[in-house]
């Protein structure tokens, strides 16, 4: 069966520090991968998605970046964190079924980031 891992679970970082969040998926090949951010009590904001190794699409311009060095590994990074980067970061995977279908999103447990 498929599983998705995210770490760390919680993180407290000072403003201006770097960030690296990692997500890995097991039990599936060539998944679509996604990074979302959720502010407290708010909805899901899609940050990045990837349909393959080295292929990254950004949905929201900001000081964050993403990389996909391996098929089932997705990394979210920042060189200098801002206060506004605080939030709940969720990684998700799906398998694109093609056409007009909405793919089911499978989410990881998330990382709760607080920037002070």
């Amino acid at each position: 069966s498929q599983t998705i891992h995210q770490w760390p679970a919680t993180l407290v970082q000072p403003v201006g520090s770097p960030l690296s969040l990692e997500c890995t998926v097991e039990g599936t090949s060539n998944p679509n991968l996604y990074w979302y951010r959720q502010a407290a009590g708010r909805g899901l904001q899609l940050l990045f998605y990837s349909v393959g190794i080295g292929q990254i699409s950004s949905e929201v311009p900001q000081n964050l970046s993403a990389s996909r060095p391996q098929d089932r590994q997705f990394i979210l990074s920042s060189k200098k964190l801002l206060l506004s980067d605080s939030g709940f970061y969720l990684c998700a995977w799906s398998v694109w079924t093609g056409g007009l279908s909405t793919d089911t999103q499978y989410f990881g447990p998330g990382t709760r980031l607080t920037v002070l």
């Binding site: 996604y34 909805g43 899609l46 799906s94 694109w96 007009l100 909405t102 999103q105 499978y106 990881g108």
Partner: protein, 111 residues
């Protein structure tokens, strides 16, 4: 462009009362999914609706897809404290793999 609105943003109910959340689109949707996120947790897939007028049930939850495939609803009968959480609708934009979620409806159940 396509706009989908999810309402209400919050809903307080007494335990045992019913609850409904709606997603309304300005354009026809191919299909729609519903997710539940418990407080402190991550969204979990509940169901997918594909056909015009489709109705699906999961115990006390009833999901509907409108005849025009422009609106959908999630109805919970006789809410319980275990139903607390945020419910999201989800669809793909423009036939691509770019996912979009509604803003969510947070359900608060008072015992």
């Amino acid at each position: 462009g396509q706009q989908v609105m999810q309402i209400p943003q919050y809903q307080h109910v007494q335990e045992g009362e019913d609850f409904t959340t709606y997603c309304n689109s300005s354009t026809t949707l191919s299909n729609i999914q519903w997710y539940k996120q418990r407080p402190g947790g991550h969204p979990v897939f509940l169901i997918q609706l594909v056909k015009s007028g489709e109705v699906k049930k999961q115990k006390r939850l009833t999901f509907q897809f409108g005849e025009a495939k422009k609106n959908s609803s999630l109805h919970i009968t006789a809410t319980q404290t275990t139903d607390v959480g945020t419910y999201f609708c989800h669809w793909a934009s423009g036939g691509s793999y770019i996912p979009t979620f509604g803003r969510g409806t947070s359900l608060i159940v008072h015992p």
